[in-house]
């Protein structure tokens, strides 16, 4: 008789006993993006019993080039929730928990305590160091993967007394020295390769087979097909530094970084209305019109041809009818090398309501 896992069970290295280990395992994936999607896909298909997904972001059309769990029907939906829907279809026998929120210093420890293995598929240094430190404090193995254009890195940290990410790179790089997430391009298949390798490490850890990639950094170049396995030494000092501060861990705050930039902003959080260029990316005929602010109107489909109208010296707040086109506009502007662009999550009518309440003078 065949069942869902028969191709696992007939492997002598796995068998029914190994499959039972997988079904008892609890794995948390941080970030359902380029890396998170292949990780989630393979560990869900493999029958990991409890699968957690944390991601605050929503699916954008520019994600579909590599984030293979999503389709056009997922656009605008939260990634953790959209991934859960797809994965429940892939494997309804497992339990999938979606956390549609940002990983923070406040929620990380409690969340990590509920899982056996943490997988890092995040897209910025701040979250990567947060994940590393929380894994040290909660004593969880960390399956690490990171990508840059055509290259990837994979390792398993904090596994059976092995080194951590800080033993490799003690501190986050200085701001602006390494491009983050959405600012740069990436070959679509690369996160598929690196994420699949992370999924493989997850399975090996749970099954106790093969050699776990602990104490080594695997580097891959998709253009040259070159690989390197670099040995990482453990630094006790790095662990001590993290553990020494563990009682203050949940007092730390995430700084404003790339994640914030790619996030939506609420009109309520716009403090200084003077040094801002508001851009309405709706079609000229769309109502209601927002008054009382310095606004230029450039419909989304003409934005790329009107970049000279963008004021580079100001912060750009972009809005539309519902907060979706404005998000697309932000990624378009960023891809054209224009920074300080934010998408206002409220639509035009909510912005008008807010301005009325705030009594921003309606003198324009």
């Amino acid at each position: 008789m065949t069942n869902r896992y028969s191709r696992h069970i007939i492997l002598s290295e796995i068998g029914q006993a190994g499959q039972d280990k997988l079904s008892r395992a609890k794995v948390l994936v941080v970030g359902a993006g380029g890396l998170g999607c292949p990780v989630l896909q393979y560990v869900a298909a493999a029958g990991i019993g409890t699968l957690g997904i944390i991601d605050f972001d929503v699916v954008d059309i520019s994600n579909l080039q590599r984030q293979v769990l999503f389709g056009t029907s997922s656009l605008g939906k939260n990634k953790a929730l959209a991934a859960k829907i797809r994965l429940e279809d892939l494997n309804p026998e497992i339990s999938i928990i979606a956390y549609a929120e940002k990983l923070t210093y406040q929620n990380a420890l409690e969340l990590f305590n509920n899982y056996d293995i943490i997988v890092d598929g995040s897209d910025n240094f701040e979250t990567r160091y947060l994940v590393n430190d929380a894994c040290i404090i909660t004593n969880k193995p960390l399956v690490f993967g990171a990508i840059y254009k055509f290259e990837g890195q994979v390792s398993v940290f904090n596994y059976q007394n092995g080194p951590s990410y800080r033993c490799l790179f003690p501190n986050p790089p200085q701001k602006d020295t390494v491009p983050n997430c959405s600012e740069i391009g990436v070959l679509g298949v690369l996160p598929g390769i690196i994420g699949s390798m992370q999924a493989n490490e997850v399975l090996k850890i749970i099954l106790g087979i093969g050699n776990v990639l602990s104490g080594k950094l695997f580097c891959y170049n998709a253009l040259t097909s070159q690989t390197s396995n670099l040995k990482i030494s453990k630094s006790e000092e790095q662990f001590e530094n993290v553990l020494k501060e563990k009682h203050h861990f949940n007092e730390r705050q995430l700084e404003i970084d790339c994640e914030f930039q790619s996030d939506d902003i609420s009109i309520e959080d716009v403090l200084d209305f003077k040094n801002i260029q508001f851009i309405d990316v709706r079609e000229a005929h769309e109502q209601p019109k927002v008054k009382g602010l310095e606004i230029i109107n450039i419909p989304l489909n003409q934005l790329g041809n009107n970049l000279e109208k963008i004021d580079l010296s100001k912060e750009k707040m972009i809005f539309c009818q519902s907060g979706i086109r404005s998000k697309h506009a932000v990624s378009l502007l960023r891809n054209s090398g224009i920074s300080k662009c934010y998408s206002i999550k409220e639509g035009a009518s909510n912005i008008i309501e807010f301005l009325k309440e705030k009594q921003v003078p309606n003198d324009r």
């Binding site: 897209d123 490799l168 790089p173 390494v178």
Partner: protein
């Protein structure tokens, strides 16, 4: 001593190559970093770790190997 230097990620963009071979007579990894910093001024404000013969090491380490790699952190996901 003939040394092959490998560059990864952003570092390969700064040096405009993924690998080069140099004849170097310094003592420590720090010496070779200084040499590379003057050859590639943009390298100075980049973060990277150094591996010698496939092993990540500190800058104080003596040069013993034929292969050095400059490895920046990647954040993308």
């Amino acid at each position: 001593m003939i040394i092959t230097i490998k560059y990864f990620g952003l570092i390969a963009e700064v040096t405009s190559q993924e690998e080069e071979t140099i004849d170097f007579s310094g003592n420590t990894i720090a010496d070779i970093i200084n040499f590379l910093n003057s050859k590639y001024p943009d390298l100075k404000n980049k973060d990277f770790q150094v591996a010698q013969n496939q092993e990540l090491i500190s800058e104080k380490t003596k040069i013993t190997g034929q292969e050095i790699a400059l490895l920046p952190p990647f954040s993308g996901g």
